[in-house]
């Protein structure tokens, strides 16, 4: 079975139904190529690093229920423009930009892991604000 078929069949089962996405081809297809499902709660992505994922950064906009976003190994062309406000865990290794989205209010965030992010020049003012917001809330 070729990759295209495989993606298509697996994704048929997934679209709009399942709350957790794990197969990386499906994630890419469902989330980053089309648009995110509002029922998805968990995304764990572990890709080959040498292939850059081309996207416009808007795919996570409508994923209102996303609570856990783990990007272990993947190279993105740009950082997201939006992050869902209900995120509890945000782990994004090698985050592609120096700050989180401008309008992101991480009031529910408990774990922030941006290890290996070479882009974090310093804590910009906005980054500090974002972090303090997220760490002020009770766990």
């Amino acid at each position: 079975m070729g990759w295209g078929m495989r993606i298509a069949t697996t994704c048929n089962h997934l679209t709009g139904q399942i709350t957790m996405l794990y197969n990386h081809w499906c994630i890419l297809f469902c989330v980053f190529c089309l648009k995110g499902s509002d029922k998805t709660e968990i995304i764990v992505l572990n890709l080959l690093k040498d292939k850059e994922v081309q996207w416009f950064g808007n795919a996570l906009k409508n994923m209102e229920n996303l609570k856990m976003l783990v990007i272990e190994k993947a190279r993105f062309s740009s950082a997201p423009n939006h992050l869902p406000k209900n995120l509890i865990v945000l782990k994004w290794r090698d985050y592609p930009e120096s700050s989180l989205p401008v309008h992101y209010n991480p009031k529910k965030l408990v774990i922030l892991d941006l290890s290996d992010s070479i882009g974090l020049f310093t804590f910009g003012d906005q980054m500090i604000m974002v972090l303090i917001f997220c760490l002020m809330c009770e766990f």
Binding site: I118, L120, T122, L135, M136, F139
Partner: protein
């Protein structure tokens, strides 16, 4: 919060607005120079990891972190000063400085009353130890091997005179293994003469490969000492005393030992053997 290996991070800003922070991992942030004072007062912080921050120079001026369990500064080679401890920190059990550039430890380290493991190996710039370290009631392991500069014990002004703490005689504490590793250090005579009387609760001491010349007679103040190793102390000439409860003594390759010291050791062995055979009715 984990920002490990963020190579461009230079400064951790004011985090006083984040009082719920539990974990802060900044290990291998190779450009990190400064950690803001506010980090020293995060009431819920449990784990602070600054390992391999090889440019780190500035830590908070003081710390009072009541929830802190572990603090690690391994390989912070440019860090020279450690903050004053401003309050009793009753949760910290591990404090690690391995191969850091630390020059001095504050006397207030004695406020870390639950500290079990203090690791200061290969801190070559560390010249003196505060005597308060030896008053820490729970300390089980002091790893100080390869501290080439270590030469003095710093005593506090209002320090209580060295008396035998009551817990030395306490049966339960006698079975706790307490270990001091000073191998590969220089160990001048004055240093050992001040240090040894502070170690009355220690069960194991390693002085292997050190430049020790004389083992001072005050070693007999080490009541709890069971095992003393001095392997390859090629400059060791004199052993002026032995601890009363010693069970294991190793002085392999100590080629400079005087015949008097050797004789004393042999006598000691003979005495032990004699006592042993007596108690088993061999003779």
């Amino acid at each position: 919060m984990k920002l490990s290996r963020c190579q461009s991070l230079k400064k951790v800003p004011d985090m006083s607005g984040a009082p719920n922070l539990k974990k802060l991992h900044l290990d291998s942030c190779k450009s990190l120079v400064e950690v803001h004072d506010s980090i020293g007062f995060l009431e819920k912080l449990e784990d602070l990891n600054l390992n391999y921050c090889t440019r780190l120079r500035i830590l908070p001026y003081g710390i009072n972190l009541p929830s802190l369990k572990i603090m690690s500064l391994r390989n912070c080679t440019t860090l020279e000063n450690f903050p004053e401890i401003l309050g009793k920190m009753e949760n910290i059990t591990y404090l690690v400085f391995s191969n850091s550039g630390i020059c001095e430890l504050p006397f207030s380290i004695g406020l870390l009353v639950e500290l079990v493991n203090l690791t200061i190996d290969r801190c070559n710039k560390l010249l003196e130890l505060p005597s308060s370290i030896f008053m820490l009631p729970k300390l089980e392991t002091l790893e100080a091997y390869c501290c080439k500069g270590l030469a003095r014990i710093k005593k506090g002004k209002d320090q209580v005179p060295e008396t035998l703490p009551s817990d030395v005689r306490n049966a339960s504490s006698r079975f706790v293994h307490k270990d001091v590793d000073l191998s590969f250090c220089y160990l001048p005579y004055e240093f050992l003469a001040t240090l040894l009387p502070c170690l009355h609760y220690v069960t194991d001491i390693s002085l292997d490969y050190s430049s020790i010349r004389i083992l001072p007679s005050c070693i007999n103040a080490c009541y709890s000492l069971k095992k003393l190793t001095m392997k390859n102390c090629t400059e060791l000439r004199e052993i002026r005393g032995l601890p009363p409860n010693i069970k294991h003594l190793s002085a392999i390759n100590c080629e400079s030992l005087t015949s008097q010291s050797k004789e004393m050791l042999l006598n000691q062995v003979y005495n032990i053997f004699h006592r042993f055979s007596w108690s088993f009715g061999i003779k």
